[in-house]
Symmetry: C2
Subunit: 164 residues, 2 copies
Amino acid sequence: MKPSEIIYRPIGIIHSEHTVAEKTPIQPVYAEGCKGYAEVFPDFTEGLKDLEGFSHIYLIYHFHQSPQCKLIVKPFLQDIDRGIFSTRAPFRPNPVGLSVVELKKVERNILHVDGIDVLDGTPLLDIKPYTAKFDSCNVKNSGWQDQIDEQTAQKRGKRGYCRL
Amino acid sequence: MKPSEIIYRPIGIIHSEHTVAEKTPIQPVYAEGCKGYAEVFPDFTEGLKDLEGFSHIYLIYHFHQSPQCKLIVKPFLQDIDRGIFSTRAPFRPNPVGLSVVELKKVERNILHVDGIDVLDGTPLLDIKPYTAKFDSCNVKNSGWQDQIDEQTAQKRGKRGYCRL
């Protein structure tokens, strides 16, 4: 038996300078210098206590402008068909986005972040601390991404948008 | 205006040896040697193409046994009240779980993984490749977690369950 549907509600909204999906950098590593903020709805402000001590956080969000799911996609970094789960592309069965961003400052219910690769107005689902202990892994292989040289990755990753 | 509700459906089920929430390790780093697998429903098998080349993957899942949301919690690692978003505890407004696990083998729609810290039967929402480039950050501070010595973290993190 497949479990039934799961209902989430946004805890806030991500604000950024990225207003066109096609020009939004694809990952924080290609969005250096792109500032933005996560506005957490006041009902949840209490849950932000102690977050300021972390230099990096995960933003988990809903790709609200993602069109229909595709199981095979050409990733932004490469013109070769890849399985959706081997990419970070938005056309996922559940369009959940995940970015690690640098947390610069917390002002009440506003989290100021750097390296934002998220479209303006994106619904925020969760925030988690990123820690060296839990999240910084000794990666042996990065699959098809290992085929991409740094110059190509930088060019395609930034998608012509971000100031540096 | 707050955006309306977001509906997701599981893409699979996580299977592990952890059958009691209170005895489940709290993060993969404390679940070394704990094997398990993610069963992806056959409808989505095609999307797993090219995943095998990655040594680590993110599992994004729904904490299906999580009781009601709490904005202030005592984390498993420390007896001090902390804001929920500065912890990885399950009692979140949207009970989304995130673990980085080592991908050992892909057999059709089954992903065999190591370091599983997830309760058996947990609904799987998404799978993403973990890459050195996107996800391995140079963390300066890990907030309250920096206060915890390694011995305490190991003892509390494993929660008495995992074989090593």
